[in-house]
Subunit: 370 residues, 2 copies
């Protein structure tokens, strides 16, 4: 079994993914796919499209080492291209040379584009889709989920929240017949790092500069410090785990600009720490006799919220420092389940993409997405 | 699709399971199985065998409410029986009235029997097996795993460690192409409760009596306080997650009898807490040129250990108090992933059994167990 993959975006995650499938080549070949059939899976990158390094496709498989070398030396991919010229990403998607689109293009947090168009074109052309880009989940989840079901293709997105940590596969496979009633989480590493530094008495501005020097904050840090990244991830979790229909702008959102070292000291004196907490809960409808099906979302409203909160030191959220992230799920079956991912790097995000690709090879779980 | 289930054991977990499938009946019917086919799943309990309340079978489905009422009033199940008499558990398994054996009999920690015989007979007779009993995993995992593969049946066991928390399904579905290199965990709620109480200055003996009064410690507490329960769970995790071949007696084991309130006070003065920590790691073979395949266990030894350890207050293990449990997995793909289950009760263990039953209905993942 050969799965042809095209990558849109070949930044740090895309390159780590290319290295990971090389490193795991033998294990993938001898152990997958796992759901019936003989085990002889080859993952073949047949196309790569980038913003700054051009585009290359080869139906027989690209030379991955050459592609890595070209991009790392700030060169072009075009010299690796075989076949008729392709003008843009959509032509690559429609070229009929792949089974799976891997969407790794830069996020546009306001619109989710052009990633949504990429996902839509892929599903309409019979490709499965794996996205590490949050945009399609925050802005077009229901449409893409239904489009995938209609075309009997998979639409997977493990790496959109908490990198490669198995959040969505746990929900899909480990929590069947379960209603998620709410969650609490710390999902933005930049603000978590800034708050951790400010606890040492460093000012907000200086902590932002440190984060920028480390490469974990943008030149314009507002996407992180004003809570937009957290709000986007909150909307993704609400849409997927709670069957909601939420956009980032629907999330009640307060960033960390008003947090001061003095506030952190005062809170520490009470045995607490300030964290930028993402949360969601179901609000019961105001009816005297709620329907027994209301737990599935009928008639009730889901409230999503991002705000600095003082958390007690005996709460696992308080231990979540630096770039570590945490998700606490409340449900009607398991009460409370907590998942912590420790200090992820791009290699962990790339692993989440591989897990999704292997799920496509392994299972035919169309039904889960319909 | 109808799945006939027989339960061996009808204690608190079995009764919670019976209530859970009643409560989730509509959701199971309309949403499962999820892997192809029409969705119309009915779970039907066709046999129940107990140690003290007799045995009943009915190929058309037992009256579950009547079975619950009989056992709760300390009565007998035999009045519900329909069909030829069945003398014992093995005759029930071989009666051809079920698709799945649910093994919930009391654990014999030394031998794993008679649960191993139940699992073996079920697989040989074409039944899938779900066990919440750790014995078969600690004493006969490889044999039963291979027997299941040979008969193309599933052998699942989510509830054997950390109740219903999705440990094994996360390993199976969320961590593909991954080598677990080690773990740390707190898995025994009785000792964790005792240590939490002793931190308040209460003696070991008094804390044991409190645990006994609460029903979380046995009259003879040695299975917990001498670390046998933790060692059994450590062996299960090593066998399943690390492809080991370990018995509880192979685990280096120190219980908590030597821990004193004074020791806990001294450790607290250093910003630490004492926990009964389960752990495992791979020990590299003593060769100058280790084989590149050694990560899969060839030539190397796995060390399993249970011992009181002083853990720092900024370690999530230190926050694990009362009956909460925690597992930290280290791997070659995700670095470190932590899963915490908060204050489980029998209903959560029953949920793990349901998750396994729905996995049987949903997927044909024979390959994962071979």
């Amino acid at each position: 079994m050969v799965l042809g993959l095209i990558l849109i975006g070949f930044g740090s995650v895309g390159r780590e993914f290319a290295r990971l499938i090389e490193r795991k080549r033998d294990e993938i070949k001898t152990r997958y796919p796992q759901d019936g059939g003989s085990r002889d899976l080859t993952l073949r990158i047949t196309g790569i499209a980038t913003g700054r390094h051009g585009l290359a496709a080869n139906p027989a498989g690209l030379n991955v080492q050459a592609a890595l070398a070209a991009v790392q030396s700030d060169g072009r991919l075009d010299g690796l291209h075989v076949g008729a010229p392709l003008r843009d990403n959509l032509e690559l998607i429609r070229a009929g040379i792949a089974d799976v689109l891997i969407e790794l293009s830069p996020l546009n947090p306001q619109t989710g584009q052009p990633a949504i168009d990429h996902c839509r074109a892929a599903l309409e052309n019979g490709l499965h889709v794996v996205t590490a880009n949050k945009g399609p989940l925050a802005h077009a989840y229901r449409e893409l989920r239904d489009l995938a079901a209609q075309h009997k293709r998979m639409f997977l997105f493990e790496s959109t929240v908490m990198d490669g940590a198995p959040i969505f596969s746990t929900y899909r496979e480990g929590l069947p017949a379960t209603t998620i009633t709410g969650f609490r989480a710390i999902l933005n590493s930049t603000t978590n790092f800034i708050l951790t530094q400010m606890e040492q008495g460093i000012s907000f501005g200086e902590a932002v500069r440190q984060a920028q020097a480390m490469g974990i904050a943008e030149a314009d840090p507002s996407n992180d410090v004003d809570g937009w990244d957290s709000a986007t991830k909150t909307a993704v979790l609400v849409n997927v785990l709670m069957d909601g229909d939420m956009r980032p702008t629907d999330v009640e959102r307060t960033g960390i600009r008003a947090v001061s070292p003095e506030m952190l000291r005062e809170v520490a004196g009470r045995g607490q720490r300030v964290k930028l907490v993402c949360s969601a809960r179901r609000e019961e409808p105001l009816t005297p006799f709620p329907s027994p099906r209301s737990a599935r979302g009928e008639g009730e409203r889901i409230i999503g919220r991002v705000a600095p909160e003082a958390v007690s030191l005996d709460d696992p959220l308080a231990l979540t420092t630096g770039t570590t992230s945490i998700l606490q799920l409340r449900s009607d079956t398991l009460k409370q389940l907590t998942i912590i991912e420790h200090d992820p790097e791009p290699a962990q995000t790339a692993f989440g993409v591989l897990a999704d690709v292997l799920a496509i090879a392994r299972h035919k779980v169309w039904e889960m997405i319909s």
